[in-house]
Amino acid sequence: MPNNKKMYDKGKVVAGLCIFVVLITFPFWYNLGKAAPAPEPKLSDKAKAAKECVMPTAYMKAEHMQILNEWRDTVVREAKRIYVNPSGKKFNMSLSNTCLDCHVEKAEFCDKCHNYASVTPYCWDCHIDSKEAK
C-alpha cells in the first residue's frame, strides 16, 4: 500500500499548534503563584473579647448562612427571638443588632470574605449596617 498518510505543511501546522497551546494556557502560567491570598477577616475588639461566637468558630465559618436562615425563619414565622446555644448562652436573633453589634466593621469582616469568594448575599439590601446608615 502506498503511504498516503503524509502530512502536508508539517512545519506550519506544528508551529501553529505550539502557538495555539501557548496562547490558550497563557492565563494559567502567567498567573502562576500570583493567587490572591485568602483574606483574614478582621475581628473587632468586642468580638475578640467575647472569644466565642454564637457557635464554635469553625462551625460559624462554614455554617453561618444556615444559622442565619434558621434565625430568620424562627423570628419571622414562629415569633421566637431568643437563641440558646449549647453552652446555655442566650442571644437575640438579629443580624443588624446582634451579629453587627459584635462584628462592628462589616467591611472588614463580612465583605472581605464575601468579595474574595465572589458571593453577594442580599442581606444588606434591607438589613441595616448602622455604621453605613449614619
Partner: protein
C-alpha cells in the same frame, strides 16, 4: 478436644459481641449529652389568641390628631416618603368616611363624620384573602391572628394587593432607602420589588411592648386579645357600638371603629 473447640468459639463470639457493643454504647451515651441549640420566645413577649384593635374616633377629630400615630409608625418602620403619590408606601394613614366605610354611608350623613379623617391600617382579618392568594406563603397568618409578611419570601407578584379589599398594602416600585428620612436601625428597610403593610408591631409585641400607634394615642386606640372576654378591647367593645370596614365581604377585620 471437641468440647474445648466449642467452648472457644462460644467465648470468642461473646467477646466479639462485647467489643462491638462498646462503641455503640459510647455513641448512645454521648448523644444524650451534646445539646442542640434551642430557640424560644422572650419571657416578656406579649401573646394572645387573636390580637385586635378598637379605634375611638370620638377622640380623633381632626387629621392633626392622627399625625403622631402615623409619624411614629413611619419612623420606627423605616417607611419612605415618595413625592409621587403612586409610589406611596403606607402602613397607617388617614381616610375619609366614604372611602373608609363604603356601603355604610347614610343618605344624610352627619357633618362630623362626613368631613372626618379615619385612622386606617391593615385589619389583620380573621380570614385574610391576601394570605389565600400569596403563591410563596410570604404572607401568612400567625397563631395570634396577626397577618404578617416575610419580606424574604415576597416575589412582588402583587396578588395580595389585588386581593386585599382595604388597600392596606403598598408595593415598592423603587428602592426605598434613599427616601427614608432617618433610618431606624432596629427595623430593616425593604427593597425594591416587595410588598409591605402594617405588622401590628409584631417586633414590639415580641419584646413586651404594645404597638407604637397605641402607645402614642392617649387612649384613643385600644389593643388587646379579642379572644379573651376580660381583655381591655373586649370591655371597650362591650360598652360601645362599633363598626368594621366592609363587613359584608366576610374577611372578619380585627380593627373596630367607635363612630
Amino acid at each position: 478436644m471437641k468440647s474445648s473447640r466449642r467452648s472457644f468459639l462460644k467465648i470468642a463470639g461473646i467477646s466479639a459481641l462485647g467489643i462491638g457493643a462498646k462503641p455503640v454504647l459510647d455513641v448512645l451515651a454521648s448523644s444524650g449529652e451534646t445539646k442542640a441549640p434551642i430557640t424560644m420566645k422572650r419571657e416578656d413577649a406579649l401573646t394572645a389568641k387573636r390580637w385586635g384593635m378598637v379605634i375611638d374616633t370620638r377622640k380623633l377629630q381632626s387629621e392633626e390628631d392622627l399625625e403622631p400615630m402615623i409619624e411614629v409608625c413611619d419612623k420606627i418602620h423605616n417607611i419612605p416618603k415618595f413625592e409621587n403619590p403612586r409610589h406611596e408606601i403606607k402602613w397607617i394613614w388617614a381616610e375619609e368616611f366614604k372611602h373608609e366605610f363604603p356601603m355604610q354611608e347614610a343618605d344624610f350623613l352627619d357633618d362630623r363624620l362626613k368631613h372626618m379623617s379615619f385612622l386606617t391600617l391593615c385589619n389583620h382579618c380573621e380570614k385574610p384573602p391576601c394570605v389565600r392568594v400569596c403563591p410563596t406563603k410570604a404572607t401568612f397568618k400567625r397563631e395570634d391572628g396577626i397577618v404578617l409578611m416575610d419580606f424574604h419570601r415576597c416575589i412582588g407578584c402583587r396578588f395580595c394587593m389585588a386581593a386585599c379589599p382595604f388597600g392596606s398594602r403598598s408595593f415598592n416600585f423603587r428602592d426605598p432607602r434613599p427616601f427614608i428620612e432617618k433610618t431606624y436601625p432596629e427595623f430593616p428597610t425593604r427593597t425594591k420589588g416587595v410588598v409591605e403593610k402594617c405588622n401590628f408591631c409584631a417586633e414590639r409585641l415580641a419584646v413586651g411592648k404594645i404597638p407604637a400607634c397605641v402607645e402614642v394615642s392617649n387612649g384613643a386606640l385600644t389593643f388587646g386579645d379579642l379572644d379573651d372576654p376580660e381583655s381591655e378591647v373586649r370591655q371597650v367593645l362591650r360598652k360601645n357600638y362599633t363598626i368594621r370596614r366592609k363587613p359584608a365581604l366576610g374577611t372578619g377585620p380585627s380593627v373596630f371603629y367607635i363612630v
